[in-house]
């Protein structure tokens, strides 16, 4: 397995952890089914903005601690992409991996 693949797996785990934390705050009927392609925000999304912000904050915090650099997931770059990083877990994971490749190449 390549270093990039290992990193993607690590990022994926961070995103899934954020969704697990979110579920702990939600009523059972509102909980999100967690997986590598879980829709986040936009068409077919299951999150409202309160839940989305919870995921953003938890992921940004975890990334900043792990890579010792401030990482923003909602800057102009993220918002200007043709495919939103927040479409689903996969697009968010790929976007973060891309950001990390610039600040800490593997």
């Amino acid at each position: 397995m390549s270093a990039q693949s290992d990193r993607r797996d690590e990022v994926l785990a961070i995103v899934l952890d954020a969704l697990e934390s979110l579920n702990q705050e939600l009523d059972e009927k509102d909980r999100v089914e967690i997986g590598p392609v879980t829709p986040l925000f936009g068409a077919d999304a299951k999150l409202d903005s309160l839940s989305l912000v919870s995921v953003i904050v938890d992921v940004e915090t975890a990334l900043t601690i792990r890579w010792d650099a401030p990482i923003s997931l909602t800057d102009d770059r993220a918002m200007s992409r043709e495919v939103s990083p927040f479409d689903d877990v996969g697009t968010l994971t790929d976007y973060i991996a891309e950001l990390l490749q610039e600040i800490a190449p593997v």
């Binding site: 068409a43 999304a45 299951k46 999150l47 409202d48 903005s49 309160l50 839940s51 904050v57 918002m79």
Partner: protein, 203 residues
Amino acid sequence: MTEHTAVLGSAPELTGRFVVLRPLAAGDAEITYGWRHSARARHLNASAGSVEDQRRWIVGRPGSEFNYVIALVNGPDIGMLSLINIDLANLRAESARFLIGDEAATQGTPAAVEAMKLLYELAFDRLGLERIYGTIEERNHLMIKWQKYLGMKEEGRLRRHYLMDGEFVDALALGLLADEYRKVSLPRMKALMSLGRAPVGGA
């Protein structure tokens, strides 16, 4: 009504891309009563005991408050939001009674974000206020996280502020200043809104 609130007049309707804030009216008693007694409202303080009480409460709102129903553009009513204790002498007001009652209708839509943005625009840009403040029950973690992400700063803790189901609960006091709104809140609100799906029948 005090001299400081006399110039407020009635709440103006506020229209955005995703939501409309329309002034709360007596006819909203039934739907707002339902929202206030839903599981989602468990972190808010006590509300009216009946629809008729809710109607009386709505009719009795003072002139220092702008109370709104949040409706999706070309869609259903989804929640409520208020600007209360509007003080034009000290240029401050409290954001309060924020509740999304129809959660399913807002999935994938930045309805809550735009509703708050419209309220902030009214407070800071139209009324010229310097400060918005509010309290959140300490266990309402998602709302606390959301408000802080959108620029509010924690200013203190109000001990045993709410009595809920026989248990005293602390509240966090949060505040947002006009320059923080422009530097932090607006860019983040715009970013979140750019992620949302287009409203039904909208752009």
